[in-house]
Symmetry: C2
Subunit: 899 residues, 2 copies
Amino acid sequence: MAKKYVYFFGAGKADGNGKMKDLLGGKGAGLAEMSRSGVPVPPGFTVTTDTCRYYYSHGRRVPPELQAQFKDAMRKLEKVSGKGFGDPENPLLVSVRSGAKFSMPGMMDTILNLGSNDAVVEGLSALTGNPRFVWDSYRRFIQMFGNVVMGIDKSEFERAISAKKREKNVELDTQLDAADLRDLVARFKKLYREKTKEDFPQDPWKQLVLARDAVFKSWNNDRAISYRRMNRIPDDLGTAVNVQTMVFGNMGDTSATGVGFTRNPMNGAKEFFAEYLTNAQGEDVVAGTRTPKHIPQMAKELPECYAQLKSITSRLEKHYRDVQDFEFTVERNHLYMLQTRTGKRTGMAAVKIAVDMVREKLISKDEALLRVEPDQLSQLLAPVFDESQKKNATQVAKGINAGPGAASGRVAFTAEKAVELAKSGPVVLVRPETNPDDIEGMNAAVGILTAIGGRTSHAAVVARGMGKPCVVGCQALKIDPGTATMAVDGHRLKEGESISIDGFTGEVYVGRIPTIPSEIVRVLRGELSHKDSELYGVFKEFMGWADAARKLKVRANADIPRDAKAARQLGAEGIGLCRTEHMFFAEERLPLMQQMILSDNVVDRKKALDKLMPFQKEDFKGLFKEMRGFPVTIRTLDPPLHEFLPKTEAEAEALSKKIGIPAQTILAKSRDLHEFNPMLGHRGCRLGIVYPEITEMQVQAIIGAACELAREKIRIVPEIMIPLVGHKNELKHQKDLAIRTADETMKSYGVKINYLVGTMIEVPRAAVTADQIAREADFFSFGTNDLTQMGFGFSRDDAGKFIPAYLAEKILKEDPFQTLDQEGIGKLVEWGTSQGRKVKKDLKVGICGEHGGDPASVKFCHNVGLNYVSCSPYRIPVARLAAAQAVLESKKKSEYSSK
Amino acid sequence: MAKKYVYFFGAGKADGNGKMKDLLGGKGAGLAEMSRSGVPVPPGFTVTTDTCRYYYSHGRRVPPELQAQFKDAMRKLEKVSGKGFGDPENPLLVSVRSGAKFSMPGMMDTILNLGSNDAVVEGLSALTGNPRFVWDSYRRFIQMFGNVVMGIDKSEFERAISAKKREKNVELDTQLDAADLRDLVARFKKLYREKTKEDFPQDPWKQLVLARDAVFKSWNNDRAISYRRMNRIPDDLGTAVNVQTMVFGNMGDTSATGVGFTRNPMNGAKEFFAEYLTNAQGEDVVAGTRTPKHIPQMAKELPECYAQLKSITSRLEKHYRDVQDFEFTVERNHLYMLQTRTGKRTGMAAVKIAVDMVREKLISKDEALLRVEPDQLSQLLAPVFDESQKKNATQVAKGINAGPGAASGRVAFTAEKAVELAKSGPVVLVRPETNPDDIEGMNAAVGILTAIGGRTSHAAVVARGMGKPCVVGCQALKIDPGTATMAVDGHRLKEGESISIDGFTGEVYVGRIPTIPSEIVRVLRGELSHKDSELYGVFKEFMGWADAARKLKVRANADIPRDAKAARQLGAEGIGLCRTEHMFFAEERLPLMQQMILSDNVVDRKKALDKLMPFQKEDFKGLFKEMRGFPVTIRTLDPPLHEFLPKTEAEAEALSKKIGIPAQTILAKSRDLHEFNPMLGHRGCRLGIVYPEITEMQVQAIIGAACELAREKIRIVPEIMIPLVGHKNELKHQKDLAIRTADETMKSYGVKINYLVGTMIEVPRAAVTADQIAREADFFSFGTNDLTQMGFGFSRDDAGKFIPAYLAEKILKEDPFQTLDQEGIGKLVEWGTSQGRKVKKDLKVGICGEHGGDPASVKFCHNVGLNYVSCSPYRIPVARLAAAQAVLESKKKSEYSSK
């Protein structure tokens, strides 16, 4: 018997099956499997990869046996479809696609509508009653065929279309009518003749053979070769060719087309969720030119097809064990499934579906945990717009979505104004960019919008920390601080006017759109009973599975009791980073801080610090109470001191009045403290070394707070963390000082408490010399924000000038401030951890900073053996899930490798 | 026979010898050896370390046999010295010192003048005719004995002296006369009685035994124990006790005291170089209260002692095989050598002496090379003040000595003014700090003085590169740019007034001090025939030995032909770093550069670049010609673009007139390019990636220059170096671009040349991922300046705020910008090199930047296997010698370890 080169599929049967990827390619095997399992896919056949290999080993000729098998398959296709290839009365049109074992975007594009010719077009026009559609399909076919098979430059066809539109004085392709398209077809054919010195082939068979061989040729085009090289795909696999019937949903009222999901992708409800249109093309449903009908209607209009569709899709869901997103077409009462794939869904739906499917025993808990993208969980926590009210507002710009959730309120252009306006209603703080001065304003605002900066700018980081919606880098905003106005997209807004921002999408609206708080947050806050929230029940169950699975602890970055409380509600197991400097910006404290900085001797500095101490101590007591029973890591003062001083004459005058130091002295100090590269300047432990009295005061406050609580029988183990250590002697200096101060403080209270002194590893040199530093450290916490800045030499505040170009040029796959660069910065983390543990076997190692809430980075932290991650409170569920997935994924990997 | 516990030395003999360090301690063995070899040291004896071990193993008792041996030794000492212990007529006074096998600064202080008592003092006063000296010696003895032996706090004695001075209303100890000191002795004795409940012992024997046992006790005092722990010295070695005769040069006209060198320490001439005073103490010679006599005078005054001294010192030089710095005393016609040690010398003298000693066959060439501190060589190249003319100027301040050499000229406060004033005579450029704009002014000036910055500030680096004297960080300067004046130490200077700076010492003078150019530089420049310079001959021979010994190549950092020429003259074997940006600041080029930056589209940018290209090409041709036959590494554009733009309105207006772009546009662009941390901003290869046309232009110029020279039969292999690479894809992007451009350029010339494309490793991530980067690189060059900045997280421009504190607190041993931090940043260099060579076995690896001229860093580079170092031209001899020493030192080490 001759070798079999052609495999047929269709009408519930198939020559091949899903396992034959080597021979039929991925697509061919998939179509065979679907057809075999009773899914009505448009029938067709696959020419094997063997054929392709033969083609190349025989001087680019197909096997002689192919011709007959190929013809037989076409005949069978005509029979099964009930149509004739090239028959104007009832034409069979086909698509031709390549299909290798591995998906290869570098290969040939699809050719649709093959089989069209002048006669077929006329027949089909009559058949569908839609000549515009038919002529459009024809001109598309000539265009694809001309380009893909004959190598005519795409732009040649585009130019012809443009010319036609100019003549007709229209802007859009859709504005061309049937006659125009018919004319265009004529022009395309002329172009084809000019370029190929041949007429466009009217013989469908010729079209088909040329297209088939073009697929084989495409296996060795430059794009495909370089794609294989990059992806290490062997060059000798060859590709298959898939020829499949075209079906049409616009062949009258017994035809239809639609899309749908097997469950509701918005909320996860178990309901058949689809839309369709009769006598329509797929595009019509998606494009919104006609309003689609809801699926129950189909039960009346096309009852048989409806029943079949419902039964098929629910079978598909069971088969793939996940929600399916499907496309279907009914051609004259015949249902065809065009596509089925895993359905995308919102965070809420993802959790609901995962939990439901476990209850339905469709999937295991482990699988459920792997079904939800950790990032999606943050959607469950963020407030949302009341979609029904959106009509009252106008979208005017789109920035970078930096903090999930929706916010709406009056515009304030300064932090002070935000505080003031917030007294009489919600405020959105709008700034060119934010800095630590703005903290109180950000605190008062319901949302933050900036013109400059990326997802890790100050505004974004602080906003996410606060769980506030935030849009940054919205360059369309022209803010004029002088007149306190802003121009955007032709609108001019004054302070106090309404604006709305969507931190999920980055959209900015002029006008007020009411928001709805997240259901889960309302339950967590006690504003809603958990009994009234099914979603909360689902969420809680799901997170419980995650917690049972994970090994990594999850802590929060939190500076104030309110954030600490939220963090606990969201599942934090301690505080991994308390930034003490945020405590110094409050109204009654800042002048004291400023006085301290302006002192030119240690006695005056100590005086000011002595006044600050009680405030700090109270702050810590508040934090410790919220975190009772959990560890709290407190970082000593980190930012350069100039951040606390006024920069302008007016600000200096104002401060001068408050503290009685001449404005000129204040400004002179501010200038004196100015730095060329503050990121690499006098900050972190360098402050505590030059001004040991600052560290002293902070340690007094930390230990004092713990001692006072110990008297109330509240026990807490504070972890004092020294920032920006690069040399073991820096840590030793600060540690010795901390221990001395702690001992004195405990003595003065007559109380003994346990405490640790450790360090951040955020300077590359610290990671490199981690073995030395570990000798002085009770714990390490990787500050990967700064480690990324210094390791890459990227200033987070300036990298916006080149990171977009780097992503566009694929120099970087991802923004390293968003997700940890595992092969570079991650190596420093890995090295630092292993070197540290060489010296101290049980050294506690964590990570704080933005990456602690990034799922990929959390998984990395699990894999390199960290003890915990710490992230902003609203990222905690994300981190908990990612930590669980890390365990499950490495379990899967080790099962795989043990096979 | 009883065990021998006491070893005598003196009168040309000794019981012990130099090898008995275990038993006699280092000092005791040395004294025995000197005495034995005929050097007249004051006689004395050593109590063995055995005695100390016995003392501790027998409940703090000395061996019973010791007593008799001890007494015998004292008797012998009296005999040899012809004096009596406690004899008022002719008293023997002794010193008592500890002396372990290893030098231990943690142990007991010396006790001098032991044997003094009330009677002895009276006798000695008569004998010396100098009662003030005698009473002063006595009160010092009581003080030392009271403190060291009896443990009375030093401050008690100091308080008594202060009280006495207050009573006498004088400020200095020297203002107290004999009677005052006599009174002070009485007070000290009273104090002694109060504190010890005993009288001060008048019995010399009692004094001696107590002092001896105090030495044994000191072996286990806290300081000594902790010193041993830190230096890993075993605790059971014990210490010896040295008792030695005191001698006095102030016993009349047959007594004298002096100091000297066996060769001239200023210029190395082989001449007896000493000064002395008759009837004087050692302090009198050093203190300058009396003018010492030149040594030839001694031949007349004390002919026998002179002859003896000359013969002894020349023997000592031969014995130690190095120049000796000696102290001697003649006591009543008896010569005693008090000390001899290796003599410190200037750079010139060091080289001359080393070469002479090889010629004299005293030392080998290898030894000669190890005898000169590499840093000293820079003294041979720098101009110096004409010391005789210093009286015309007043020292007003002291800054940081940042560029060796002396300079004198008129003050200019701006680069423009410097250029202008330089037309009519030498100029010193005085700036708060310098930046790339100032290049032309620095070029025009003979010296540079700044108020801000450290040894690696822009001013210092550029000045050293230019071989110009430079003083930086001179904070006493109050520069007022508005009025173009400067206040310093009460002087007010206007622009054009004279100033002088000493880059060796950091001293700043108001007024003019003529300078003398370095002799060697004059020969190298051809201004002086090498036949007329003995020093040059010596220098050349010495450097020839260094070159023969070293393995590391030495290249220069040079941007212009003049520097390249100097570099070649100083022995450079290529250019390791040509900073192309320095070429853009010249008058006719800067506006083109600015036009390029101000263009908002690639077409305009290319237009401006096309005009810059010929300039760059000519620059490269000039460099290549000077470096014919050697490699030239050219770095593509590195600094952030805002450095090229005006910052003030006035500058913008001026530029606007030149290039016709509105001043507001210029300022807006300047603001737009402003960066928070320019060090970590849009610079290095990030420029070439966002603006590939810049790299393109530079590669065209480099390859074009090489092609044009190739036509003239001048062959050169340019090495194109991509800066600030942190990710392999950055290098790949720029390398692909460079290769494409180079191919096109060569094609257009019809010439084929060899060239390399490599990268700087200066971003920590690059060192961490060096294996990946090596795949794309033809060579690596470590940019340790930036690697130190990013590795430590220290901004070079801002670190002045904390590095001084770090050095003071010993957190850092050395400024990491001056000498490479081997245990941190060096680890990155080592790691990067070995990872790179794992991928490419023969990868060429070098270092450019300041550390390339630092001897310790050069040695490190040799040890980790680098191929070359590159440094500023005037550091090249330093690097050549350091590279040679690295070889010799590792040879020595391996010889040692193989023994």
